[in-house]
């Protein structure tokens, strides 16, 4: 899979040198411990900018670095315009990175030529937000799911049909009832199951889930989240899970990365980040979540102000315009991502909590354990 032909890797030489970040400032050095040995996916100083009218640029993703370890689920969370989806799309180069490196399984995706990229992409698949739009309305389910095999000419027709049958059954649909129907005959949740089946056909290593449950009702959302956990265990997947719903991200992710307006704010094990958020933005986000429990204390006032435009983001720390603790320094200097504890990183000049020795409750998330086996359904918790 690794491409060694220098002709197809024109960018690889350039990536060795520290690259300039947005605004021509050299990207900040990365904190030690951010990257892990044997990470399956490494994103390094990723910058994605789009042209905007009148020669301006949308700063969709500005200098984002993280990695995803084999078998874990990394949650990427933030509000609209934070660049979480663009990051996911830039990783498989659907959106073209302006600069930065993405290394997948030893292959630098950002340096590949078209044909090599086409091959590399088979092992890293994407699931979309809109389950209906992501399926071709004029094709039958069996053809949609078989399409990846057809493209790569894998197996005999009989083998292909067997694999399609297995995959459709695995995502909880009845093959005989579903195979000859077209997407519009299915509900949103069922369409999302079909997309998941399709994404699994090429035996991917990594699946990027771009808001896969945002368009679904709560009850269906739970079905799909459970299904993703099952598929992850069954096929040994690594997930990059992108969503705006913090509770959903927490439920599925081993580690979580919080983004705001194109920048990474905070990164760490889910339990730890949610228990002791260090970035004021994470705190604000957590305080804003409506909990389905009238007893939950509501003494936190929501942060004021609107999300600024990514065309003209604030200088320094991009959250400073809404941050209750903002100082002059936040306007002048971009806060670098710094380690504040084992596996904990935050980009803030004045982080709220430093992660000391961790409490016993939340130690599970830090070790790259494979996903827990499928549990027997816990009875619903009646409050």
């Amino acid at each position: 899979m690794t491409v060694s032909d220098p002709a197809t890797a024109p960018q690889s030489a350039a990536t060795a040198a520290p690259r300039p970040g947005p605004g021509g400032i050299a990207a900040a050095p990365l904190p030690p411990g951010l990257f892990h040995d044997g990470a399956v996916l490494t994103v390094e100083h990723l910058v994605v900018e789009f042209p905007a009218p009148r020669g301006r640029r949308v700063h969709a993703v500005s200098d984002v670095s993280f990695d995803v370890r084999d078998g874990e689920t990394l949650g990427l969370v933030g509000e609209s315009g934070c660049g979480k989806s663009t990051t996911g799309r830039a990783i498989i180069r659907v959106d073209r990175p302006t600069s930065g490196r993405v290394v997948f399984d030893g292959t630098e995706l950002t340096a590949l030529g078209p044909e090599a990229l086409r091959r590399a992409r088979t092992r890293i698949q994407l699931i979309f937000q809109d389950p209906i739009s992501s399926l071709n309305p004029r094709r039958r389910v069996r053809d949609i799911v078989a399409e990846p095999l057809a493209i790569w000419q894998r197996g005999t027709p009989a083998e292909r049909e067997q694999r399609v049958r297995d995959a459709i059954t695995a995502v909880g649909l009845d093959y005989d009832a579903a195979a000859d129907r077209r997407p519009h005959e299915f509900s949103g949740g069922q369409c999302q199951r079909i997309s998941i089946a399709r994404a699994l056909m090429l035996d991917p290593k990594v699946v990027i889930c771009d808001e896969p449950v945002s368009a679904l009702d709560v009850s269906v959302q739970a079905q799909i989240l459970n299904l993703l956990e099952d598929m992850k265990a069954r096929y040994g997947l690594t997930l990059l899970f992108i969503a705006h719903d913090l509770a959903v991200v927490r439920n599925i992710s081993d580690r979580v990365a919080v983004m705001y307006l194109g920048r990474l704010c905070e990164l760490g094990p889910s339990d730890d980040v949610y228990a002791r958020p260090a970035h004021p933005y994470t705190v604000a986000l957590l305080a804003s979540i409506p909990e389905p429990d009238p007893a939950a204390a509501r003494n936190v006032t929501p942060i004021a102000g609107d999300i600024p435009s990514p065309i003209d983001p604030p200088s320094g720390c991009r959250f400073r315009t809404r941050c209750p603790f903002a100082q002059q320094r936040c306007t002048d200097e971009v806060p670098p991502l710094t380690a504040i504890g084992p596996e904990r990183f935050v980009a803030c000049h004045f982080p709220l909590a430093t992660s000391g020795p961790r409490s016993s409750a939340g130690s599970a998330g830090s070790s790259p354990e494979p996903a827990p086996p499928i549990q027997v359904d816990t009875p619903p918790t009646a409050p």
Binding site: S80, V171, G172, D174, D176, A177, A178, E185, S187, R193, D217, V218, S219, V220, Q221, A222, L225, N226, L227, E229, H244, D245, A247, V248, R250, N251, I252, D254, S270, D271, Y274, A284, L285, S288, I289, P290, E291, P292, D293, P294, A295, A296, P302, I303, A304, D306, I307, R322, A364, G365, A371, P372, I374, Q375, D377, P379, P380, T381, A382, P383
Partner: protein, 361 residues
């Protein structure tokens, strides 16, 4: 702000006299649409009352009939292909019996609505100023300058900076949160007694959602207005509503004071809905309790309890007889279930993987 409280033309008692009718009384309301596929029973026999100054959360998933209900309360649904029965009494006046001319005097002046998506609910080619002032001038007979000053005061009260300049803006020039504030200002303009907020925060980011919900709550308290907060998010109603009504497949399946309902859920659907929400307090990778299957077809809903095919406690009686909405031990807490939560044990754990049937049954 006294301008906001000029009397409308229809006589509605402004103060709750003892023995006066409740602000809103919905009595066995049915709303159906004639479609090529048959009659879609979107709202099927709904009754409740709402007093002034109370906030009612109306919760349901898509297709539960919550949006249709909120629009039928107002009488806002287009009459073509519509079948409606039952009564909606607003301060004792039956809205369903009103003629269009009378309805228009109620709309905007006494009952106002906040829509889900401010991008589509604000006219894209009309300046915000005119969208706020036009019904002020209509209902309260204000002069152009009076209406303008009132609009500025309104924009100010919903937290829009530089309100004077904003009057000349078009909706697309504002952010999503600002647009929703404008919509709230429009709804509040004539000082309505009842505000119907239909998923007012669904399209908004969570930090903005919190701002908007706080704004609605503050305005509701300040004006002693009744509010129906329609949402699919149990989290939104838990913190904001005095009473909660849960709908499923066109019917109310459970309703009651928020605290009573959340602390003692009776209807298995409500229970299952709550259980399917991921919680911040649960450990990572907690398996969610999903409701299998999908909501029923509203053209030919199942016999008996409509939730029966998806219910984990289902018994023979559930598929034969429809459970009535009755009061349980707690006063005001009603539910429609033959075997409410706690009265019967589960028939063992349900299958964990989704054993879904084919697409359409």
């Amino acid at each position: 702000m006294s301008l906001l409280h000029k009397a409308g033309r229809l006589a509605f008692p402004d103060v709750e006299a003892p023995g006066a009718p409740p602000l809103l009384e919905v009595d066995d309301l049915h709303t159906s649409f004639r479609t090529p596929l048959g009659l879609v029973r979107a709202v099927d026999g709904v009754s409740f009352t709402l007093q002034r100054g109370r906030t009612m959360g109306l919760v349901g998933e898509s297709g539960s009939g919550k949006t249709v209900l909120s629009r039928s309360i107002m009488g806002l649904l287009p009459r073509a292909n519509l079948e409606r029965s039952g009564r909606v009494l607003f301060s004792g006046h039956d809205i369903t019996a009103m003629r269009p001319r009378e309805l228009r005097q109620v709309w905007g002046a006494h009952i106002a609505m906040v829509f889900q998506d401010p991008m589509t609910a604000l006219n894209p080619v009309v300046r915000i100023g005119r969208q706020i002032t036009e019904h002020l001038r209509l209902h309260l007979s204000m002069s152009r300058s009076e209406a303008r000053e009132t609009a500025i005061a309104l924009l100010n009260s919903v937290g829009i900076p530089e309100p004077r300049a904003r009057l000349r803006s078009y909706p697309f020039q504002l952010s999503g949160g600002m647009r929703q504030r404008v919509m709230i200002a429009i709804a509040l303009a004539c000082g309505p007694k009842l505000l119907l907020a239909d998923e007012p925060t669904t399209g908004l980011d969570v930090t903005i959602q919190a701002q908007i919900l706080d704004l609605l709550a503050a305005q509701q308290a300040e004006r002693y207005m009744a509010m129906i907060l329609v949402t699919h998010d149990l989290g939104v109603v838990a913190g904001r509503a005095d009473d909660v009504v849960v709908m499923y497949a066109g019917k109310i399946v459970e309703m009651g004071p928020t605290n009573a309902l959340f602390s003692d859920v009776k209807m298995p659907y409500t229970e299952a809905l709550l259980a399917s929400i991921p919680r911040l307090t649960d450990p990572v990778h907690t398996r969610l309790s999903a409701i299998e299957g999908r909501p029923p077809d509203l053209v030919s809903p199942p016999h008996g309890c409509r939730f029966a095919p998806r219910c984990r406690y289902v018994q023979a009686r559930c598929t034969e007889e429809e459970p009535p909405l009755v009061e349980g031990d707690t006063p005001g807490h009603l539910f429609a279930c033959w075997f409410p939560v706690g009265s019967i044990t589960t028939r063992g754990p349900r299958p964990t993987t989704a054993a879904q049937s084919g697409p359409s049954s």
